[in-house]
Symmetry: C2
Subunit: 327 residues, 2 copies
């Protein structure tokens, strides 16, 4: 008998997608958000669950736990170019949870929502042997500005917002017991790229978009499958986080972490070469950055070039139910 451990999360999602009766949904399972038609807009909905057992590092403060569940849900709204309308939050908590700990989770969640011009409008609280949070965010985007995962074309450029390795730097800093709490924030207080997502949507420059919560390599493999294309990524073009460069010295780690480690909530987009300048300017105008890191290919393989050597990129991103590391 096959178990979820044998199947892995992505196969489980395939099963769900096959078993469910399709409703009048515009975009269903398999994108960052589901989308329902609502006049000339889409209603975007996304849900994410995080568990103490798999997703909440033990060093995370309750405030950061609350912040994170909101941030990762808003990141999915960002990836579709959406404007958040609100969130609901369900908390599964042990009954011996202190009132202070509980309050701090709520305060962290509220802070993240407020900082991104939205609010938590409801929720549920249940007893659970350990901490488990489930957030659902919803938002809107005009139909013609919605950025789907599907749409990448051969010859498109692939580009990424911000820089990679912030979460990895936090992980290293914590493992090495460094005292610089600023470093931890990249891992423990992610920033959803809502402003960048809206700017990209307004520019109408992109052909596809997704957030890279599970890591760059994992996201590339997902985009490859959806779009039946391949990618050639230039390692030297990947914008590395200064924080990563500060803590990581080993050459192999500098390759491993920005490419394979999850937790950097950046947006990965494809766009025609002719739109690159326009998109980059749009993002710069709102104080962000967009960096081309390679191109979309017809051949359905993913390569990483480094120092002129082209190698097949392994798919090592995080997947639930499969073995993984945690702090």
């Amino acid at each position: 008998v096959k178990t979820l451990e044998d199947l892995g999360e992505r196969k489980a999602i395939e099963i769900i997608s096959r078993l469910l009766t399709e409703g009048n949904v515009a975009i269903g399972i398999g994108d960052d958000c589901a989308a329902l038609e609502f006049n000339d807009s889409y209603l975007l909905v996304t849900t994410d669950m995080v568990s103490e057992k798999t997703h909440i590092p033990s060093v995370m403060t309750p405030w950061q736990i609350g912040w994170s569940i909101v941030a990762i849900n808003l990141s999915d709204i960002a990836a579709k170019g959406g404007k958040p309308l609100g969130l609901v939050l369900s908390l599964g908590l042990p009954k011996n949870t202190s009132e202070t700990f509980f309050n701090d989770i709520i305060k962290g969640a509220d802070a993240c929502a407020v900082q991104h011009s939205t609010s938590i409008i409801g929720g549920d609280t249940k007893e659970n042997p350990h901490i488990l949070l489930c957030g659902t965010a919803f938002g809107t985007v005009q139909k013609d500005k919605f950025m789907a995962r599907k749409g990448a074309k051969p010859e498109d450029i692939i580009a990424i917002t911000g820089s990679l390795g912030k979460a990895g730097a936090g992980y290293f800093a914590l493992k090495q017991q460094l005292k610089e709490t600023k470093l931890f924030k990249g891992l423990l207080e992610p920033t959803p790229r809502l402003v960048e997502g809206r700017a990209l949507a307004e520019s109408k420059a992109v052909t596809s978009c997704m957030d890279i919560s599970d890591g760059l390599s994992s996201s590339l493999y997902q985009l490859q499958q959806i779009n039946s294309v391949g990618f050639e990524i230039e390692f030297e073009q990947i914008p590395l986080s200064p924080m990563l460069l500060q803590v990581v010295k080993k050459e192999s780690d500098l390759l491993e972490w920005p490419v394979h480690f999850g937790g950097d909530y950046e947006l990965l987009v494809t766009l025609p070469q002719k739109n690159v300048d326009k998109a980059m300017k749009c993002i710069e105008q709102i104080g962000g950055s967009l960096t081309p890191i390679g191109k979309v290919t017809k051949e359905k393989k993913i390569f990483l070039s480094r120092d002129g050597a082209k190698q097949k990129l392994p798919n090592k991103g995080y997947e639930h139910f499969k073995p993984h590391h945690l702090l």
Copy 2:
């Protein structure tokens, strides 16, 4: 230091409500759904979490687990007079969950959604040491037809859809190891009163409405607090489920179960005396029933009359984090 066990679920919700920054929400925490303005309609959102440890009886099949999480979320949409737009579903499951068990949860959830003319449009799957499901449903209702929890007035009649004790009958049947699976369904396959909720909303006859998932007594105490009123309930008027009468013989149980046990997903409404006939006819037209069970009073106490004797009704409904019974 106070813990969640000391506070209980309702106090925890009060804390959440106090700590959160209020957004531009029309109806916030404390009603069955949150509501956001959307042109001349409200977007309704509700979320519910169920856990193997507290809410999933061990006899429940995976199909019923899936059915239930959808049903209890749709019940909240029903209580506001809403039309469901869709649901998202997050599953926390042990990694040794078999593919068959997993498939059955999805099939049960899908069946409940489809039976109520809606669909599951997205979700998340995560590893968790035991089964924990989190559903979020959303729907719409015209602003002028929205039924809030707040609105009950002294002299109003209080009435209930369907009958009470179906879940209790299922509980008894299972405890007594009866073989009649039809009896279990009242507990294990609840029906959200969407059709009744819509009919009541269309009638514009009611002053307040909520679903009674935590039991009648608990719901009355919640309505009392929100509306600063009291209630006088006539036990003899409460519509008892024929199934309960079939399995329960002890007089004290016949009082206890329909009044205090949760799991009957009926709608509890208040309405002016002059609207009672109209509302009852509306519900009968769609094949349901609505039964007056007492009246709203100015005095902020809740009484239950039985055989002419009026007694204060204890608040014994289910509350999370507090001690409770489970199969």
